[in-house]
């Protein structure tokens, strides 16, 4: 991975790295990896708030119960072989 940076961005990163007391390269590496991990985590994990979590928990222990619109869509799809 070859990253090109503007001079002013470089200066900014070097200043921040100095404050942390680390080299600019290792500062950049640690920040980018942390951000990448966050993106991947967010792509996979969905957080529920309390109301949704309780509703969901109740629905999970019952059989699948599509509403009328969904049941029709599923039937219609089956008629088309989809």
């Amino acid at each position: 991975m070859d990253i090109r940076l503007e001079e002013e961005d470089k200066a900014l990163i070097e200043r921040a790295a100095q404050i942390r007391g680390v080299k600019a390269a290792s500062f950049t590496r640690s920040i980018v990896i942390r951000e990448a991990e966050e993106v991947i985590r967010n792509a996979h994990i969905v957080k529920f708030d309390e109301k949704a979590a309780r509703d969901c928990l109740a629905a999970l222990s019952k059989p699948f119960a599509p509403n009328e619109a969904l049941r029709k869509a599923l039937d219609h799809g089956s008629e088309s072989g989809l």
């Binding site: 792509a43 996979h44 994990i45 969905v46 957080k47 529920f48 708030d49 309390e50 949704a52 979590a53 309780r54 509703d55 969901c56 928990l57 629905a59 999970l60 222990s61 019952k62 059989p63 699948f64 119960a65 599509p66 509403n67 619109a69 969904l70 869509a73 599923l74 219609h76 799809g77 088309s80 989809l82």
Partner: protein, 164 residues
Amino acid sequence: MTLQIVELDPKLHIRQHFDCSNINRNLYLQKLAAQHRRSGFSSTYVLSDTKKPSTIFGYYSISAAQIELGVIPKQDLRKLPKVPIPAARVGQLAVDLKEQGKGYGALLLQNAIKKALLVREQSLGIHMIIVDADSQNAASFYRKFGFRECNSSGRTLYLCLGSD
């Protein structure tokens, strides 16, 4: 006309002509869908006419996801086989402008749900479907089919597949 929903084939499907008016959905299909397939992140399925299979009417992408019900006390969760709870996520679903108003969105969604139900029946423990809605219109579309908001962001909705 006979419709089909098949996995995206970059050699067959003409992705550049697809336009659903949402730039992110267009770009996803054109630039990311095939890459995500190769990396195993998600699969993309395409709706088309069997007589002209290269023209994409609509598509959806589906991937694995996990649910965190972190706010619920542990003892209430004990009946569940696993925490976080495994789910299927429909991250993208779009219909080309020329093909809208024909019920193709519903056709794609119900196909995604059938795929998830099939996985559940094969006992791989998919308990729900998550969808991402980036507009009020998209959220209303999913709510019509029984999806509910996961949290106050309103951008992520869920549908429980229940248990047997």
